[in-house]
């Protein structure tokens, strides 16, 4: 009885409608699955080169490691070990302070350069190429050059400080025999390397703020400073957020400069050891890839947190 009714009902649906539904189903399939089919090859590559190493590193961090081979499962012991290690916690604090110094200096300097470029749009065409040059230099090479420039005996930095600024105490001043001055020298080198990209990006952002709003403010009698602070900087805020985030990540990852500028790497006496360097030493000098993986995971989580923060801030901006 029931079946007859249903059959009758189904036959009651007009043929055109049924065809449309069929078509919609097909479209639904296409909409739902086809994009994935096209994305699949790329996703496979991403999973292979990003997902696998990350998963593998997390996995390794739960094992004892010796000579690049996995030992027994140790649970969270590697994490407990590294946080109990004063050299690691020292590096954690040092890296954070270093990152803060690098980011603040980079953003302020870059903004200053961007404003100068923006004020002279014609010269900027040539100038921005010159500004970008340090960025094109390999970091290891720039690290070596900076090390020479900070050399206590023959370096140009000490020479300038003594002869131009009259700071006689810098005569033969040794930048790399204690921690703090060494960190200052490395900060200078890293900032020099990070500024170009940020400056040119901010310059591009500032170029887009010359519209009616600024014109209107000017007509209303706003000063250049007011226009910059109240109008132009808020307009490029999303860009500033991105640049700050990227600079933070770069700073936390700094490795090359530390490796080539200090003797031994991270020295003297551990005073310039940063997280990336310590991870590398743990993996390839101590050959304990379990602890190294744990260090990498912690750094990964910290940088992931920075990235989440960036996404959040950006979303609020859109609103």
């Amino acid at each position: 009885m029931k079946t007859t009714i249903r059959r009758a009902a189904s036959s009651a649906i007009p043929r055109a409608l049924r065809e449309r539904r069929l078509l919609q189903g097909q479209q639904g399939f296409e909409r739902r699955f086809l994009p994935w089919a096209f994305l699949a090859p790329l996703l496979a590559v991403i999973v292979g080169v990003v997902g696998y190493p990350v998963a593998r590193t997390i996995w390794l961090s739960f094992f004892d490691g010796e000579y690049l081979q996995s030992g027994p499962f140790v649970g969270l012991q590697n994490y407990r070990d590294i946080f109990a290690d004063p050299y690691y916690t020292g590096a954690l604090v040092r890296t954070t302070l270093f990152a803060a110094a690098v980011v603040v200096t980079t953003i302020l300097l870059s903004l200053a350069i961007a404003l100068v470029l923006d004020a002279a749009p014609r010269a900027a065409r040539v100038l921005s190429v010159i500004v970008l040059l340090p960025w094109a230099m390999p970091r290891v090479a720039s690290g070596i050059v900076w090390k020479w420039m900070f050399d206590d005996q023959y370096g140009v930095v000490n020479w300038l400080l003594v002869n131009w600024f009259g700071l006689d105490s810098f005569n033969g001043y040794s930048w790399f025999s204690t921690g703090t001055p060494a960190m200052v020298a490395i900060t200078v080198a890293v900032v020099w390397h990070s500024v170009p990209f940020v400056a040119v990006s901010l310059f591009a952002g500032l170029r887009g703020t010359h519209g009616e709003v600024v014109e209107a403010a000017r007509v209303d009698g706003a000063s250049a400073w007011q226009i910059l602070r109240r109008i132009r900087l808020p307009m490029i805020r999303p860009l500033l957020v991105v640049m700050t985030t990227i600079s933070t990540i770069w700073a936390y990852q700094s490795f090359d400069h530390f490796l080539v500028m200090t003797t031994p790497p991270g020295g003297p006496d551990h005073s310039t050891e940063v997280l990336s360097l310590l991870t590398w030493l743990e993996a390839f000098a101590q050959l304990d890839q379990g602890s190294a993986a744990a260090m990498a995971v912690v750094l990964f989580l910290m940088l992931a947190a920075v990235s989440v923060l960036y996404v959040r801030l950006n979303r609020e901006d859109v609103r």
Binding site: A283, A285, L303, S307
Partner: protein, 433 residues
């Protein structure tokens, strides 16, 4: 190249780590010339790092080609590993994809032997005496067996300015460390702007041997284990002495606590340093940089310490055959070929290192590159060498720079020598225990 995105940002370290592991996992016997018949036929892989740069590449390539030419049907695939050689070896051992023959740093030999990667060369190392320089045999031994053939050795000696020493009324190089200190102070007082002695705080090979000179040991064997002696009175006094040369006597600028040999070479070349401990390779660098110094420089064996010896570290390389080599007939034959005087001396002369066989060393001393007056001291010093403790995990001690960090903490005054050396002993024991 710098188009970094956030993903890359997050995982760079992870990729670095995992990349090495992936590499290790891709292993597998790679030698194509598998040969177990004992016939001299087939292909072998021969790897080497380049501790002194790429100058040695052409001459090594020629030897590999010569061998193949002399033994039809064989081929030697030569691969230069560059500065990351140690890591490359470890990765390939972990992945089971090793070369047949390799020229490895002598301090790596016990480490690789402990990983069960090397073929035993001599069950009784005593049989090697007479053929090889004694200090170099030591470096091939692990748990009583020899795992490699000593190939070349580099020793350090005293390089000094004859003219400056003469100006303070001395005709001979200082014979003891105390005398060196006094001479350096006198030279410094007489020559403004000259460092009396080039201190090299950034590389432990320049002061670790002082422990021997003071009558101590770097580590002692106790049963099956090695125990660090860094905390001993002799070790503490030796490190204190070296640190005092910088901090009390100011024989080098403050920055010398982080100096490497290259810094002192430069300073010496510029006429700003009067004496240094340096290898024959340092001497060559200085002379190349400042040829006019040739008549002014002198060399001598190292000064003795209160312990009555002037022993120094025998650096150098060993030729090893890997256990997983599948053409040991050619591998062993090739090693023999490399070790003949005719094939060894051209290489060592070219590198400025001493050959590790006695017959080749005699030739170098008599007519070779070490017969020149300025280089004689190195050949003499070769008789006064020792090896670092033959412990598998010594590489960790070096890799972690524990010794350099200890010296720098004494130099900076952050720790007393007593505390720093006790801590060093703990660290070393943790690494080698």
């Amino acid at each position: 190249m710098r188009a970094r995105n956030l993903w890359r940002g997050r995982v760079a370290v992870a990729i670095g780590l995992a990349g090495a592991l992936a590499l290790a996992a891709c292993g597998g016997a790679s030698d194509s010339g598998a040969n177990s018949s004992g016939e001299i036929k087939g292909t072998i892989d021969f790897w080497m790092g380049d501790p002194i740069g790429d100058a040695q590449q052409p001459i090594m390539q020629k030897l590999a080609d010569d061998y193949a030419a002399a033994h039809p049907g064989t081929k030697v695939n030569l691969r230069f590993l560059g500065k990351d050689a140690h890591q490359t070896y470890l990765t390939s051992i972990a992945g089971g994809s090793v070369p047949c023959v390799a020229l490895i740093g002598n301090t790596w030999t016990p480490e690789f032997a402990a990983l069960n990667a090397l073929e035993v060369y001599a069950n009784d190392p005593k049989t090697l005496q007479g053929t090889y320089v004694p200090g170099m045999i030591e470096s091939t031994i692990f748990k009583g067996k020899s795992y490699a053939v000593p190939y070349d050795t580099g020793v350090r000696a005293l390089i000094y300015r004859k003219d400056m020493l003469e100006a303070i009324g001395k005709t001979a190089a200082p014979a003891t460390w105390q005398e060196l200190r006094e001479d350096a102070l006198a030279i410094q007082a007489k020559n403004q702007g000259v460092n009396g002695f080039g201190i090299i705080g950034g590389a432990h090979w320049y002061y670790l041997p002082l422990i021997w000179n003071w009558g101590g040991e770097i580590a002692k064997q106790s049963g099956d284990k090695w125990v660090s002696e860094a905390g001993s009175t002799q070790s503490v006094q030796a490190f204190q002495f070296y640190s005092d040369l910088l901090t009390k006597d100011r024989l080098s600028p403050a920055g010398a606590s982080a100096w490497t040999a290259a810094d002192v070479d430069k300073s010496m070349g510029l006429g700003q340093t009067a004496m240094m401990v340096g290898g024959s390779w340092d001497l060559r660098t200085i002379l190349k940089q400042s040829p006019d110094l040739e008549g002014k420089l002198g060399t001598a064996v190292l000064p003795k310490g209160p312990g009555g010896n002037n022993d120094t570290f025998a650096g150098g390389s060993n030729l090893a055959v890997f256990r997983e080599c599948n053409n040991k007939a050619v591998a062993n034959d090739f090693v023999k070929f490399m070790m003949t005087k005719e094939n060894l001396v051209p290489v060592t002369s070219n590198l400025g290192l001493l050959p590790a066989t006695n017959d080749a060393l005699a030739q170098e001393k008599a007519t070779g590159s070490f017969s020149a007056p300025l280089f004689k001291a190195y050949a003499e010093q070769a008789d006064h060498t020792r090896s670092i403790p033959p412990v598998a995990s010594w590489g960790k001690v070096e890799g972690a720079n524990s010794i350099v960090n200890a010296m720098q903490s004494i130099m900076s005054g952050k720790k007393t020598a007593d505390v720093a050396m006790k801590e060093l002993a703990d660290q070393v024991n943790q690494a080698i225990g």
